[in-house]
Amino acid sequence: MNAPAIEILGLTKDYPVGFWRKKMRRSLDNLTLQVEEGEIFGYLGPNGAGKTTTLKLLTGLIFPTAGTARVRGKSIDDVTMHREIGYLPEQPYFYDYLTARELLDYYGHFGGLSKAQRRERVAQLLERVGLASAANLQLRKYSKGMLQRAGIAQAMLHDPKVVFLDEPMSGLDPVGRREVRDIILELKNQGKTVFFSTHILSDAEMLCDRVAVLASGKLLGVGAPGDIVALEVHAMDILFELREGRSLPAGLPGQVTTMGGRCHMEVPESDLYAALEQLRRCEARILSVLPVRPTLEDYFLRLVEKEKVTSHTVEVTVR
């Protein structure tokens, strides 16, 4: 069996705070996590949850207080591990006196690419992220979205097996977000592992094989978005139309909202058949009956709220 793409064991990070730096603030608390090869893994959490701290630990920008991590079997202390990874920092900022072509060519040196390889790869990536026409423009003249694309290009430069993206959709317009989503899916199709943090839960829901939820430095839950949202079905949504001259029957088990002549009613699952029977009796036309599933956002908010109340780790393992 192959080693996991990312293996995190008890990773903890404390920062000294205060004037004398004697007090410690825990940014990440005993994180243990595995990401398999070829997965798109979403890392969710509110601001200050420890998402960026985790990514910085995994990319060697900061050092753990305790615990360890491996990327494709290589320790994060090992510089050769960096050949396996690409990294897009949150709100990336690059040498603004360089053009995008120069920036990528510069970074290409470290991946051991020859001059000809760099030229080819850089042109290919600039085309891929839609910056070919702005390739010779200095980065100081780039918009936020363009910088983000340049950042994604540099993260893919030496064809890494694992790509870390910190808030890759942040600052992008809907078209840009869609393009980034396409790139992430393309990376998955190429067999890469993508680990990305995000606030935009719909993106995670749409893209991720699995997600982890983090709050106050603690891992609250890991699971497939589909499994998470499919877990609980507490209510059913009935869409129906009333015949002319008919009014709503009294004593329906749910609140009815009318829009454009159509009525929506959300009822508890246990009351579904009773509600349908009442609607049948008044000869209502049933258009659809759908289960109401919690969104990933509901799940996320519930966990974060719970963490605020209990202030200790909640074990939620779906898979």
Binding site: Y15, L61, Y95, H109, F110, G111
Partner: protein
């Protein structure tokens, strides 16, 4: 030896060029032209002395300003602007990055000094003094200035690894000034009766680089020869100090969290 520092050095040089750092050459050229015209009119037989003295002092001062003010930002600016994050995620070791940054600034100083040397030569040519064999001492003096700047750059880089640009500037400048008076400080300690002061002055003397040894502007102005042994001694001294400072900088920076 790893090849990774090379692209970092080239990029640091490119940054200096694109940030118009070498524009100081224009000021130097204006200074030399002004001095040459003025000296030609007022001095009697001391034109060489004045031009060489002024030229070398300006080379030293301009270089010092560059070494300190760019040097203190070599690392801290990259952290502050977060350009370092994506770079250090590449397969490059932190010490390789530091060596590259250091080499890049030293390269900038060498290029800068080269053009200033040409400016000085042009000013000497203008005042109508033919070049003679003893003028080689001017080149030795410029070499000493370069050694001094290489050392100042290493000090600035060292502080840049853990301190703010403002504090790094103060520390570097403080060490430079103290280093120029290192012998005087030791002499003061020898005169005093307090054993505590003696110890402190001795420690300062041995800890701080002795920049006075690199100052040969007066000798070059008067055309006095500089012994070859001093050239070797200064080269070795600077190389050793620079190596120690780079090792210390690497040790500090290798453990620094980039928050």
């Amino acid at each position: 030896m790893s090849a990774a520092p090379m692209p970092v050095a080239v990029n640091t040089f490119r940054e200096a060029v694109r940030d118009r750092v070498l524009y100081n050459l224009v000021f130097f050229a204006l200074l030399m032209i002004g001095a040459a015209i003025l000296v030609g009119q007022i001095s009697i037989g001391i034109d060489r002395l004045v031009i060489v003295n002024l030229g070398l002092s300006a080379i030293s001062l301009f270089g010092l300003v560059m070494a300190i003010f760019i040097g203190v930002g070599l690392v801290s600016k990259e952290i502050e602007k977060r350009t370092l994050y994506s770079l250090l995620a590449q397969p490059i070791r932190r010490w390789e990055f530091l060596i590259g940054k250091y080499a890049g600034l030293v390269l900038t100083l060498v290029v800068n000094n080269f053009f200033m040397t040409l400016g000085l030569a042009a000013a000497l040519f203008y005042v109508g003094r033919p070049f003679v064999r003893t003028d080689a001492v001017i080149l030795v003096s410029i070499y000493f200035i370069l050694l001094e700047l290489a050392l100042v750059t290493a000090i600035a880089l060292f502080f840049s690894c853990f301190s703010t640009p403002m504090l790094s500037t103060l520390f570097t400048l403080g060490i430079y000034i103290t280093g120029n008076f290192a012998s005087d400080i030791r002499g003061f300690g020898d005169f005093t009766k307090s054993p505590g002061v003696k110890v402190v002055t001795r420690v300062i003397y041995y800890l701080v680089p002795n920049f006075h040894n690199f100052n040969s502007i007066a000798a070059a102005s008067h055309g006095e020869p500089i012994p070859l042994a001093l050239v070797g001694q200064n080269t070795l001294y600077a190389a050793l100090y620079v190596a120690l400072l780079l090792v210390a900088a690497s040790a500090v920076f290798s453990h620094r969290n980039l928050k």
